[in-house]
C-alpha cells in the first residue's frame, strides 16, 4: 500500500466513523431521557456529521473520480465503509448509548489531538476545528459515565452491562494495522502505541471513578470495521440512511 492509498483509507475511517455514530445519534431524535439531553445529543450528532463532511470532502478530492462527499456517504455499500464497529452498535438503553459515546470520544479526542500536528496540513486544519468539539463531547460523556456508574443501583448495573457488551469492540480502536502504521510513519496519523496507552489510561481512570470494571486486558476483540468487515447492523443503517439516493438514482439535486 502506498502512502497516498493509506491516506485515502485513513480519511474514510475518520469520516465513516463520524458519520455512522452521528447517524446512530440521529435515531434518538425525540427519544432522549430528558429534554436537555435531546439538545445535547443532537449537538454531538451535528458536530460529527459536520466533521464527516470535512473528511469526505478531502477524501473525495484525493480519490478524484468525479465523486463528491455525498457520493462517498450515500453511494457506498457496507463492505466499502471503513467505520469502527463500535460506532455502528445499536443505541439500546442510555447506558449503552453513553458507553459507546465515551469509548469513542476518548479515542476521537486523542486521535484528533495528535492529528492537529499532522504533517498533512489539510488534516491538521480539519482536526484543529474538530478537536474543540471532541473535547467537549468527551467531557460530557465522561460525566455521564460517572453519573450512571456511580448513580443508583439500577444505573450501575446497566452501565456495567453496557461496558461488558461494548468492550469487545474497543480493541479495534487501539489495534493498529498497516494503514495506521504508514500514517504514523509519515507523520500524518498518531503514533499507535502512544494512542493505545493513552486511551487505556483515560478509560481506566473514568471507569474507576465511575465505580465500573473495565473488560479484561486479554479479552477477545471483535475487529474488522476498518477493513469493511462489519457487524450485521451496518447494512440496516445504510439502508435507511441511503434510502433516497438509492430509490431515486436519477436525481441529481436534493
Amino acid at each position: 500500500m502506498t502512502q497516498a492509498e493509506a491516506l485515502q483509507e485513513y480519511l474514510l475511517r475518520l469520516a465513516d466513523s463520524d458519520m455512522i455514530l452521528g447517524q446512530r445519534l440521529c435515531e434518538l431524535c425525540g427519544k432522549a431521557p430528558a429534554l436537555e439531553e435531546e439538545l445535547a445529543l443532537m449537538n454531538v450528532a451535528l458536530d460529527l456529521v459536520g466533521q464527516a463532511r470535512n473528511w469526505y470532502e478531502y477524501a473525495a478530492e484525493l480519490i478524484d473520480d468525479g465523486g463528491d462527499a455525498d457520493k462517498l456517504a450515500f453511494r457506498r455499500d457496507a463492505h466499502n465503509y471503513r467505520n469502527l464497529l463500535l460506532t455502528e452498535q445499536p443505541n439500546e438503553d442510555y447506558a449503552v448509548t453513553m458507553g459507546r459515546q465515551f469509548f469513542f470520544d476518548a479515542w476521537h479526542y486523542l486521535t484528533l489531538k495528535s492529528l492537529v500536528d499532522s504533517s498533512d496540513e489539510r488534516v491538521a486544519g480539519i482536526a484543529a476545528k474538530a478537536l474543540k468539539e471532541a473535547t467537549y463531547h468527551l467531557r460530557r460523556s465522561s460525566e455521564w459515565i460517572k453519573r450512571l456508574g456511580d448513580g443508583t443501583e439500577e444505573s450501575h448495573r446497566r452501565m456495567q452491562d453496557a461496558v461488558d457488551i461494548l468492550w469487545r469492540f474497543t480493541g479495534e480502536l487501539i489495534t493498529p494495522d498497516d494503514t495506521d502504521h504508514i500514517m504514523a510513519e509519515a507523520g500524518i496519523g498518531p503514533e499507535p502505541d502512544q494512542l493505545a496507552s493513552n486511551w487505556r489510561e483515560m478509560v481506566n481512570e473514568v471507569l474507576t471513578q465511575a465505580t465500573l470494571t473495565p473488560g479484561a486486558d486479554d479479552a477477545w476483540m471483535y475487529m474488522g470495521g476498518k477493513h469493511g468487515e462489519h457487524t450485521e447492523h451496518l447494512g440496516f443503517i445504510l439502508a435507511e440512511m441511503q434510502f433516497l439516493q438509492r430509490a431515486y438514482p436519477d436525481a441529481t439535486t436534493w
Binding site: 427519544k31 431521557p33 450515500f74 444505573s155 441529481t252 439535486t253
Partner: protein, 330 residues
C-alpha cells in the same frame, strides 16, 4: 395553534367597574403596554391562561421534533442532513426557552409535561399529521414554520415579559427554518426529476389545509379570544392571522409552480386579499380530540422517552447527592 383555543376561564370581559382595584391597576398597565414581570401581581386567570398557552406552545415545539425526526435519518445529502439537524435542535431549544418562561409563573415543567402525556394538554394539531416523503421536510419548514412565524411575530409583543423575550429569541432563530424549507422545495422544483416534483406537490396537497388550521377556529367560534386579547396575551385574532399567512404564502406557492388543493383560492381585487375555501372543521376538531393520523404515536413516543429515561434522571440525582456528601465530608 400556538395561541389558539387557550382556555381563559372567562367567556365575557369584566368591565372596569367590576374589577377590583388591583385588577384595574393591572389592566391599566397592560393597556399602557407595560410588560408584566414574574414578581408582579396578576389575576389568577391571567396566570393560568399564560401557563396553558406557553406550555401548549412548548409542547408543540417538542412534539414538532418528531415529524422531522422521522426523516433526519434519511436526509438525502450531508448538507440537508446538517440543516435538518440544526433545525430540530432549535426546536428542542425553543421548547426549553418556553418551558423556562412558563416556570417563571410558578408552574412546574415536569408536571405540565405529565399533563401532555396523559392527554390533558394540547399541542399544535399539525404535528399529528404524518411526514410521508422527503418534500414534507420542505413543506413543513415553509408552511408549518411559516404559519408559526406569523403567530410568533405578533406574540413578541405579548404582555408577559418572559414570554415576550422568549418569543423574540425564537423568532430571531427561526427565520432560517422557513427559508430552509422553501429552498428544499425550490431546488426540487427547479432541478428535480418529475418524480421529485410530484413529491413536492404531494407534500403541499397534504399539508396545506392542516397549516391553515394552525390558526385555530374562526374568531366568533373562539370564546376565549376576547379575554386573551384584552390581556394582550394574544395580540391578533385567528382569522386576521390566517389571512396574513395566506396573502404572503400564495405568491410563494406560485413562484414554486405548484398549486394549492383549494379550488376557491383566488385573488380578490376589491378586498386586496386572497379568498379561500372553507376549512374542514370537522377534521380540525377530530384531530384535536385525538383522532388524527399520528396523535397516538406522537404522545407514545414522548411518553416512552420520558418514562424510559427515568432511571437515567434518577441516577444523575443520586450521583449529585453522593458528590455533595463527598465534598462535605472532605
Amino acid at each position: 395553534m400556538y395561541a389558539q383555543l387557550v382556555e381563559t376561564g372567562s367567556k365575557r370581559l369584566k368591565t372596569k367597574e367590576e374589577m377590583s382595584p388591583q385588577e384595574r391597576e393591572f389592566q391599566e398597565k397592560v393597556d399602557a403596554e407595560i410588560k408584566i414581570e414574574a414578581k408582579n401581581w396578576m389575576p389568577e386567570g391571567y396566570r393560568k391562561t399564560l401557563v396553558r398557552q406557553i406550555s401548549q406552545h412548548a409542547h408543540s415545539e417538542v412534539v414538532g421534533m418528531l415529524p422531522e425526526g422521522n426523516w433526519v435519518t434519511r436526509a438525502p445529502t450531508l448538507k440537508r442532513k446538517l440543516q435538518l439537524m440544526a433545525k430540530i435542535q432549535d426546536e428542542a431549544g425553543h421548547g426549553l426557552y418556553l418551558y423556562s418562561a412558563m416556570e417563571t409563573l410558578g408552574a412546574d415543567r415536569d408536571e405540565e409535561i405529565e399533563k401532555l402525556h396523559q392527554g390533558k394538554a394540547k399541542y399544535s394539531s399539525i404535528f399529528n399529521y404524518p411526514t410521508l416523503n422527503w418534500a414534507d421536510m420542505g413543506a413543513v419548514g415553509w408552511l408549518v414554520d411559516g404559519a408559526a412565524i406569523v403567530n410568533q411575530v405578533v406574540l413578541q409583543r405579548t404582555s408577559y415579559g418572559p414570554y415576550s423575550r422568549a418569543m423574540v429569541r425564537i423568532c430571531k432563530e427561526e427565520s432560517f427554518h422557513q427559508r430552509q424549507g422553501y429552498q428544499i422545495l425550490l431546488d426540487l422544483m427547479r432541478e428535480g426529476t418529475d418524480e421529485q416534483k410530484a413529491m413536492v406537490q404531494d407534500a403541499i396537497n397534504r399539508l396545506w389545509w392542516p397549516s391553515l388550521m394552525m390558526f385555530g377556529p374562526h374568531d366568533d367560534e373562539s370564546p376565549n379570544s376576547q379575554q386573551s386579547l384584552a390581556w394582550k396575551i394574544k395580540r391578533k385574532g385567528n382569522d386576521e392571522l390566517r389571512q396574513m399567512f395566506i396573502d404572503q404564502t400564495v405568491p410563494q406557492l406560485e413562484f414554486l409552480g405548484c398549486t394549492a388543493p383549494d379550488p376557491d383560492l383566488k385573488w380578490n381585487e376589491e378586498t386586496g386579499h386572497y379568498d379561500f375555501g372553507e376549512i374542514n372543521w370537522q377534521e380540525f376538531y377530530d384531530v384535536l380530540k385525538g383522532n388524527g393520523p399520528c396523535n397516538r404515536e406522537r404522545i407514545n413516543t414522548r411518553k416512552k422517552a420520558i418514562d424510559e429515561g427515568r432511571w437515567v434522571r434518577e441516577a444523575a440525582v443520586a450521583y449529585a447527592k453522593k458528590q455533595k456528601q463527598r465534598t462535605q465530608a472532605a
